[in-house]
């Protein structure tokens, strides 16, 4: 690994977009670029590793491994959306390790966990849609909310309509943090599906 002399190189790259840094790395192989990616995303990669691997030591190793791979992958691959791609690299690395530990298997292309995992929003296709609900369409929205299951309905109502925080929703509903987040995300996804059906039928 090459030297990154303190933080003095950060000024060179900290204003550049991720994709610009990727193409610069292909030309120069400057390890300061990897260091910049480390500054930007290491806490997120570490968090993702913690979520799947569940312990500090394995997550540290996985974090290191993912960044070591970056030196090679950035040279090899064309990357359109660095953030999404990097997230999927980390996630797939964690899955690979979990598969080695036999924590899950594939059955008909669906992941089956050895022990029940609640509220894991799991999809092989990792996309960050960034789409927001259109809250002005009130009537369709309330109709759609009514069609959600009870937990999702409550959390969507408390979070979006009453603008409660996760903490407050936890206190009201006695759901865990993870449950609250999951109900909101799943509820939002279902609402999007329902609302798009409404718009298609109009």
């Amino acid at each position: 690994m090459l030297t990154v002399p303190g933080n003095s190189s950060r000024g060179k790259y900290n204003d550049l977009a991720d994709e610009k840094l990727v193409s610069l790395f292909k030309e120069t192989a400057d390890s300061s670029i990897i260091a910049e990616f480390y500054t930007r995303y290491s806490h997120l990669i570490y968090g993702v590793c913690l979520k799947y691997l569940k312990n500090d030591s394995d997550s540290k190793d996985a974090l290191m491994h993912v960044y070591e791979k970056l030196f090679i992958y950035l040279k090899q691959y064309e990357i359109a959306n660095f953030k999404s791609w990097f997230y999927s690299v980390a996630k797939h690395h964690c899955l690979y390790l979990l598969k080695k530990r036999k924590e899950y298997t594939y059955e008909e292309n669906i992941i089956v966990w050895k022990s029940p995992k609640e509220f894991v929003e799991f999809a092989d296709d990792i996309t960050l849609t960034g789409q927001c609900l259109n809250e002005d369409k009130t009537k369709q929205l309330f109709n759609a909310i009514e069609k959600l299951n009870e937990e999702q309905k409550i959390c969507i109502d408390l979070f979006y309509l009453q603008e409660k925080s996760y903490q407050e929703i936890q206190e009201i509903t006695q759901f865990t943090f993870k449950q609250v987040k999951s109900y909101i995300q799943n509820g939002k996804r279902n609402l999007k599906i329902l609302l798009s059906e409404y718009y298609n039928n109009e």
């Binding site: 030297t3 290491s42 987040k181």
Partner: protein
Amino acid sequence: MNNSSNHRHFSPSGCLTSEAINLYIQKKLTDKEVRKIELHLTDCQFCSDAIDGLIISDNKDFETTLSEVRDKLFPTDQKKFNGKTININKKSNRIRNIIYLSIAASISVIIISYLSIISINNSSKNNSLLGIEEFENKKSESPLTESTFKDSSNNKKEAQKTDTKNSQGSANNQNNIDRIEIINKLLKTDSEDEIILSDYSSELSDNFYTPEIINTQPSDDNNIVDGNSVEDYKKMEELPASSNGIIAGYSVTKEKESNDKNTQRSNKSSGQNPNSAGSTKTVPSFSLSYDADENEVSPAGLDKYNAGDYSGAITYYEEYLHVYPDDAQAQYYCGMSHYKLKQYNKALELLNKVVSNKQNHFYQQAQWQIAQIYIETNNTQQARKVLNEIIDEKGTYLNNAIEAVNNLENQ
């Protein structure tokens, strides 16, 4: 204020900064800031998963963890020189030094070998002249015969006997025989130890003989021992082909029996030999083997192993073997890591892969380690079997294996 908190909490890519996550977990944000972050979490799977992991972790000071990993990935060593701080990369300096040393060593080897060849050539020419004179003096006393040079597999000492049968051939043949014997005597070293230069014997002059190549079979009665018709010329092993690039090393090996074609030189080791159990009498060689395809990746696994992080090394090497399943070094160190963790079955599985090919660089170490595992797990029969193989092959661990077999028999 709003803009500055936005700037602190969201990176240019739109994701949460580590400061934002830290404050969010510690519940040190205002309601507005919390709202902003939580709205982002509903849209960003990356940040959402990260926060999930960081919240459930026992390690609340994750920034320290990130600094530690950063220091490992991008090591720096600051030193003061003339009042200025200079950052020196220890690891790249070390690698650079190793490369320079190995290049210097290779050049030295070539020069020394060249000089040796020249000097031996010169001495052989001088000796041949001496031989003729001696022959003239001894002619009437004890003529030598061609039977001295009959072929046999382990009889280099017999080749040096001074049988005195009459030769059946012309005077020329007799001259050649005498010449050879005299050269042998002049070149003869201690009978217990012989120095062998590896890898260059095929380039030696036809007039150069070592004691060990005297076991020749005369091609016919009229041309018995001629430098150009030597048949049983001992050929040194070529460097085995492998997926790794090897910078040729030079080894000086003390052997007791040099006629064994299966004798393996000790000039193929790379990295450290982690198994210090048992001493060897081999002069250690220096050669650098590097993986030309993944020269940034492989050392990291070895670093973990050397640092005692065997679980980490296992994870690393298993990933590596997934891509390069036949890499002997990875198989060996992964196996050793399992051994260190007392996962003997897995260790044996990997080490047996290494020994499946005798050309592998870690063949001997793996073979010895397998024997060690069998001894430690009281699998005496298997241990004995492997130790006998080591003894038969007369490799680096010959003496260690003999000692181990004796210990087993005394139990």
